[in-house]
Symmetry: C2
Subunit: 341 residues, 2 copies
Amino acid sequence: MINPSSILSGDRRALARLLTQIENGAPEAESALAALFPHTGRAHLIGLTGAPGTGKSSLVNELTKTLRSQNHTVAILAIDPSSPFTGGAILGDRIRMRDLAGDPGVFIRSMASRGSSGGLARATADAIKALDAAGFEKILIETVGAGQAEVDIARAAHTVLVIEAPGLGDDVQAIKAGLLEIADVFVVNKADLPGAENAARALRASLDLAHPVARTWADDKMRGHHQPTFNSTPEPVKSEKDLTGLRWNPPILQTVALEGQGITEVVEALEQHRHHLHASGELKQREREGLAYELKTRLREALFAEMLTRLGNGKLNAVVERVLAREVDPASAARQLAKDW
Amino acid sequence: MINPSSILSGDRRALARLLTQIENGAPEAESALAALFPHTGRAHLIGLTGAPGTGKSSLVNELTKTLRSQNHTVAILAIDPSSPFTGGAILGDRIRMRDLAGDPGVFIRSMASRGSSGGLARATADAIKALDAAGFEKILIETVGAGQAEVDIARAAHTVLVIEAPGLGDDVQAIKAGLLEIADVFVVNKADLPGAENAARALRASLDLAHPVARTWADDKMRGHHQPTFNSTPEPVKSEKDLTGLRWNPPILQTVALEGQGITEVVEALEQHRHHLHASGELKQREREGLAYELKTRLREALFAEMLTRLGNGKLNAVVERVLAREVDPASAARQLAKDW
């Protein structure tokens, strides 16, 4: 087992080994993570997402350089979308390493999963905890924006930055629509290209259209049920902005990451959002929701593992054969198995 | 409840209503689906995936036209990646409708989920069953390729078609890597653009490099455990190609979908793959694995729902507060709850 105190005292190689264990789903990681958990909750968790072609990696690079010039320690966690199949870690490391390598205040890691549904979400949550306990002040969690990975990021991060660029195709615009609701800060990168002003304007118009759901944390609190509730129906990805007069209005900023333009303003917006979270009490609420979601996810897995152990393969395979023969449908079969147990 | 016999007899409005219920996770859908399930298993399920910008929607359009000219009935199910947030259904319907609307042998539907993890996978599986029971011979399941949705497609489809295009950026290439392992047929679309030959060549080289895992269905069968096993570790997305002399070598085809070029060849390749699945016995194996996976997913949800009902919110919220106070870590808390139960 990796000694948790080496990680707490800044041993980068121990941290890297733990992250590898987390990525591989190694059981040894669990006790280290349990020991590190009391030391988490200090970092500012920043999710960054955007469609392919928006220049996300360059932006993350530049943000890191600016954060470093302000003496913040920075960890970058790149979530690799190709991972369910290859287990490879491809995203952006190559370029990035050139600029940031050798700086002990920066730690860069790509994260892949081994194909299990939910595996990547769990690994990401664990990796964030390890980096948080290791003392990094800013943890940048980066994904290519299209799907469940972004929902999971939104649940885990304090501040979500969505990256756009002018002139992307229809498919990309479709992806964009889904990101509107989770963004705290928007960046239109490649702002030197034609159409950047239009992209920013379209974004503003979409934002104004997207009326947030009326249910807010403040509302819930007044009704006396400000804790997350457990049920199996979908829940909002994050608490809506509060209505206590401290409502956050997502800014739309323009950058040219490759030339370092507009980066300081983005770092400032991230910092302002962090202040907002503290001042409004939303930070605690996001943390509660994130941990509640994580607990539910893990509970679901733990229950299932427990059941498989006790029930054995034979019984389950027999049910699969009945389903295959169309004697029973999968939903009814699952319900019956759960009830019988 | 929707009368299952209306769907079996070709009532499109009943089918559309059922799909809406499925999408909304309405419990009424369950009994209809249970009644329809014995009538499934006849359609050829074709998954189509590709990064944004590859011209996927145009290709699906053209494939549909060619399949129609051969008198096949076709259902198109477009999985909407923006769905976890907006519940909207955006993908490609607009263009498509122009060409294919009014043809009773074509049915087009976008599918979104309401934010629950796994909800989209379940809804997709159910929608496929509904379309299958409704008698469509070809069901085209379309996603924007980046992540878990593709794994789920690969589990559900018989034939997976991966769409590429020349001249896409680095991010897109990273996505591509993950799709190599699930493809049965490759299409390089926009083959009139510079770089198409290179893209096809690079694809061929990557394919040659990607040695398939030695474990095959044929191997398993010889060892006497050809049924899917249940455990909580990741499993291969699909059975590897068999080694019975009927090994499938994924073809790489070139198309210009916007001009209808190369489409007939793609339809032929899909048909050949279907024949291969029948001849090699792989069809039954894929179906078994797909249904086993679905059963497991549903069982996991059913168990969790059962537990929440019996345990109640109070107990779980108390645990969340302990986690928030860093008295216990989420993994240990989940394990303890599952064990106690």
